[in-house]
């Protein structure tokens, strides 16, 4: 929270009102308490107000629930990350209290369920403790069924009170959320919410009010990255998909299974990931780009078929929601360690396209872009997202749906003749004619994984293998020439350029702002087009002394993360170095700044970073 300091104890007297521009609230409990639901309500409310919002959550890896957290950062200005440290912790249990107290900034507020939490007197020096008997008050408010289901709504009521949130809007959201369910559910939810909102915290805690945000033009939509990506695929015209469940990809397949029939399409749950990619390729061959997806282990299984798609030049979109690897790894944690398999997974020379959206909104548009590139270049496109983008909720401006929705039904107009692998095609770009198309010459094409001639018939010709390999490569070089160069965040020249990709965009930019505020020359560049890279990055790099690639993966055998290694191979520039971590968590702003300090210290006798990273997150 800024503009007010929470460490001043408010003492007795009437409730004070403090004005704030943003707040980071962490809710900790067990997953069956509906922690995610509170977060969802807060995010949606912010989206309907003039606030920016970003969330971060952990999904428990056990089925029966277990500890779960949801962190929401609401701000009147631009919110770039979910926040390094929380202003408020709402702790349901002793383990939530003990496990998360350290994530709260000194002087922050610990709001705890006094029915379950015993306060550690030592910690009372550092944090403001506010106890409310959440469990018993919930039971009481709903009518003494002795079950504390609805605790989450009670907690929401407390937060609403504390931050003077719009109760009318929240009530509406709650009613909408439970609409269509048993009437008593809505009633109980509102009873719990209202009881908490009416609970007097007078003299214990002041009220915090968000300063007015910037008026926004359009309407905001609120969703997580998996949803955004799924709807993007629908807008792009994808009507067929196939997959096999795996966290955190499953949400996308469940969404498509539910939604696609509305548009005349369908999504098939397959026996395994190999079947899924094969089925999607069959549908793509049949004339309309289809989607498959998975997370690490499943993507490994798809690699042979992706190689076939490169060889046969069949369009395909493969979503990889990255999680901690290798093998089963850390299924519910974030990592950016599938870049190599996305770019290079498979045998042979098999150039393909890899795109990485930077945030929830970007998931929507990048999905459309992926479909279009797959069609335009007859190539598999891998959409690399990760657990952090997949599960976090953001509000963004509603897309112009009518404008972005596209029809990509196959064209079955009869043709005179057709060569699927025409070597004289501009830039070597193949455009297949779908089955069902009559070809007057009577010569029908075969799409194939064997090296082939222009009609798709097998060949062992050294010349043709050379020509066809070049064809498959040069079409992506043609694509690279069309890709827009990313814009530098901050000045286009300076000392340090941080390079990021995927979900780290927010914290990287926040790190740039903090560093610049401290007088350091730091800018950043975010890459969405991972493979091929757009032409001209070297010009941007030439404006900086240090290029530091920030990514959530290991520094590898040679000291560079996966993107850093790719960039070094591409630009042969020794000033490209890496800032890595792989603890399964998103980057904190502080960690990035610390990484910069360490890297610079290793190359320069004098510290080049004036500001103190440790203080930067305050």
């Amino acid at each position: 929270m800024s503009e007010t300091t929470l460490s001043v104890p408010s003492g007795g007297g009437p409730t004070q009102i403090s004005s704030i521009s943003e707040a980071v609230i962490r809710i900790a409990g067990n997953s069956q308490d509906g922690i995610q639901a509170i977060g969802g309500f807060l995010a949606r409310l912010a989206g309907r107000s003039e606030q920016e919002v970003m969330t971060f959550m952990t999904i428990p890896s056990t089925i029966s629930g277990g500890p779960s957290i949801f962190q929401v950062r609401i701000g009147s200005g631009e919110v770039l990350s979910a926040g390094d440290e929380a202003d408020v912790l709402l702790a349901f249990y002793q383990h939530s209290y003990e496990g998360h107290v350290q994530s709260v900034k000194k002087g922050g507020i610990i709001l705890f369920d006094s029915d379950h939490v015993e306060v550690n007197p030592e910690w009372q020096q550092t944090w403001r403790h506010v106890g409310v008997p959440i469990s018993s008050l919930t039971v009481e408010s709903i009518g003494g069924t002795a079950r504390d289901k609805g605790k989450n709504l009670f907690a929401l009521g407390l937060v609403a009170k504390m931050f003077d949130l719009n109760v009318l809007k929240l009530t509406k959201l709650i009613t909408e959320r439970f609409a269509g369910k048993d009437e008593s559910i809505v009633k109980n939810a509102l009873l719990a919410f209202n009881a908490a909102y009416g609970y007097s915290m007078e003299g214990i805690l002041e009220t915090f009010q968000f300063v007015e945000g910037k008026k926004r033009e359009g309407q905001q939509v609120v969703m997580n990255g998996n949803e955004s990506l799924g709807y993007g695929l629908i807008a792009a015209g994808v009507r067929f998909g196939a997959g096999y469940p795996i966290t955190p990809w499953s949400d996308i397949m469940e969404l498509l299974r539910r939604e696609l029939p509305k548009y005349g399409g369908s999504f098939i749950q397959c026996e395994d990931e190999i079947a899924a990619v094969s089925m999607a390729l069959g549908a793509g061959y049949a004339g309309r780009v289809a989607v498959t997806g998975s997370s690490g282990p499943g993507v490994s299984l798809k690699t042979e078929a992706i190689g076939w798609a490169v060889m046969a030049e069949i369009p395909l979109v493969v979503v990889d929601v990255q999680r901690g690897g290798p093998s089963t790894g850390m299924p519910t944690n974030v990592e950016q360690s599938d870049l190599n398999i996305a770019c290079f997974g498979g045998h042979g020379d098999s150039p393909r396209v890899v795109l990485a959206p930077a945030n929830v909104e970007d998931c929507f548009y990048t999905a459309i872009e992926a479909v279009n590139i797959a069609r335009d270049y007859s190539v598999p496109v891998i959409l690399l997202t990760d657990q952090a983008i997949a599960t976090r909720i953001e509000a963004f401006e509603e897309p112009d749906i009518e404008k972005v929705c596209q029809d990509i039904s196959p064209d079955l107009t009869p043709v005179l003749d057709h060569k699927p692998y025409d070597l004289s095609a501009p830039n070597g770009v193949t455009r297949h004619v779908a089955p069902g198309t009559r070809i007057q010459s009577g010569k029908y094409p075969i799409v194939t994984g064997l090296e082939h001639d222009e009609l798709g018939h097998p060949t062992g010709s050294p010349k043709l293998h050379t020509q066809m390999t070049a064809k498959r490569r040069s079409k992506l070089q043609a694509l690279a020439a069309r890709l827009p160069l990313p814009k530098v965040f901050g000045p286009a020249e300076g000392n340090v350029l941080l390079v990021g990709w995927g979900s780290t965009q927010g914290p990287v930019r926040e790190a740039v702002e903090k560093a610049r505020a401290g007088g350091d020359s730091v800018s950043s560049l975010h890459l969405k087009y991972i493979n091929p890279l757009p032409n001209g990055l070297e010009t941007i790099f030439s404006g900086f002394n240090h290029i530091l690639v920030v990514e959530i993966n290991d520094e590898g055998l040679y000291g560079f993360g996966q993107l850093a290694a790719l960039l070094r191979a591409r630009y042969a520039d020794p000033k490209i170095r890496a800032i890595n971590k792989c603890d399964g968590l998103t980057f904190k702003v502080r960690e990035i700044l610390e990484g910069v300090r360490v890297k610079l210290a290793a190359t320069s006798p004098a510290p080049l970073l004036a500001s103190n990273p440790a203080a930067a997150s305050a």
Binding site: P261, G282, E398, R438, P445, H457, P458
Partner: protein, 313 residues
């Protein structure tokens, strides 16, 4: 909007042809459907399966563009190159899910899949089971030669015990798969068996499989003269064997009777072992789609999506 995206390219303009109307077309003769000359060894059983596929296309007045010929990898899986139709030569063992993608997204096409015993029951075993139980509409002919042909004589999942191969020099040890039993147990709705030395019967089975509304599976014994010569002499009357048809009184809807029939010692029976009517995956999916779409009648796709987004505000 904070994201800028690459504009899609304009698709190439198609020079539209104006071919004959279907009513004026003649059934396709062999020379119009034959493509590359097959690369099979002279005498390979697969030739007769190909010849009968041509016959089927002619007899049933199937047009080039309406058939899709799909295969995995193997000698037998080279099939698509030899046929003038839209075709796909996919990867080893995965032809069925690929064909399912075609079938489920394009109900206007006849989907034919050809392959070998290794492709079907070893690397593709999982897909065989699941495509059968889903009952995806297609015709699948497994050219079973009891051996791996393309990779030159390794044991196949249908090799009989004792068969000497390069990987079982002392004779094959593992219990072979019985394709009829496998298919019935998996929930296939059309299960038939034939052999390349009886062309009329092969054609008859192909027609019946094609007419079946669902997953039509045929095991066609097809001799590999190179690596398993004489394997099917016992089923060939010209070589002193016996071509024993499924008894006339066999009830093909009786699962147990079909299973029992599949238990007969080699060379076993030929004909339709099992045939039942069960809703296809295609029909089941179409039903869900139709029912869902009824709620959105008259709405453009973007309007449907807009409504969803309205709920996410």
């Amino acid at each position: 909007m904070t994201s800028t995206i690459l504009e899609p390219l304009l698709p190439p303009v198609r020079v539209a042809a104006s071919p004959l109307a279907d009513a004026d077309r003649k059934p396709l003769a062999k020379k119009e459907v034959a493509a590359d000359h097959p690369t099979w060894c002279p005498g390979c059983g697969d030739f007769s399966v190909l010849a009968l596929y041509f016959k089927l296309i002619e007899k049933r007045k199937l047009w080039h563009e309406k058939i899709t010929t799909i295969a995995g990898i193997g000698c037998s899986s080279r099939f698509p190159y030899f046929v003038q139709s839209h075709g796909a030569h996919f990867i080893h063992g995965r032809a069925l899910p690929f064909a399912s993608g075609v079938s489920l997204s394009r109900p206007d096409l006849h989907v034919f899949v050809f392959g070998g015993d290794g492709d079907a029951f070893s690397i593709g075993g999982n897909h065989f089971t699941h495509t059968a139980r889903r009952n995806v509409k297609m015709t699948y002919v497994v050219m079973d030669n009891f051996v791996y042909g393309l990779t030159k004589k390794q044991t196949s999942p249908t090799s009989p015990i004792g068969f000497k191969s390069k990987t079982d020099m002392w004779g094959s040890l593992d219990q072979p798969i019985n394709p009829m039993k496998q298919a019935i147990a998996a929930g296939a709705t059309f299960v038939a068996r034939t052999t390349h030395t009886n062309p009329n019967h092969v054609l008859q089975m192909m027609e019946a499989a094609m007419d079946h509304d669902g997953f039509g599976f045929i095991e066609c014994l097809s001799e590999c003269v190179e690596f398993y010569e004489g394997a099917f002499d016992a089923a060939n009357p010209r070589k002193g064997g016996a071509f024993n048809q499924v008894p006339a009184d066999h009830d093909p809807t009786d699962e147990f009777a079909a299973y029992k029939l599949a238990d007969e010692a080699f060379p076993g029976r030929f004909g339709i072992f099992y045939k039942v009517q069960r809703a296809t995956k295609n029909a089941n999916e179409a039903k869900i789609t139709k029912k869902t779409q009824e709620k959105f009648l008259g709405q453009a796709d973007w309007q449907i999506l807009k409504k969803t987004f309205d709920r996410l505000k």
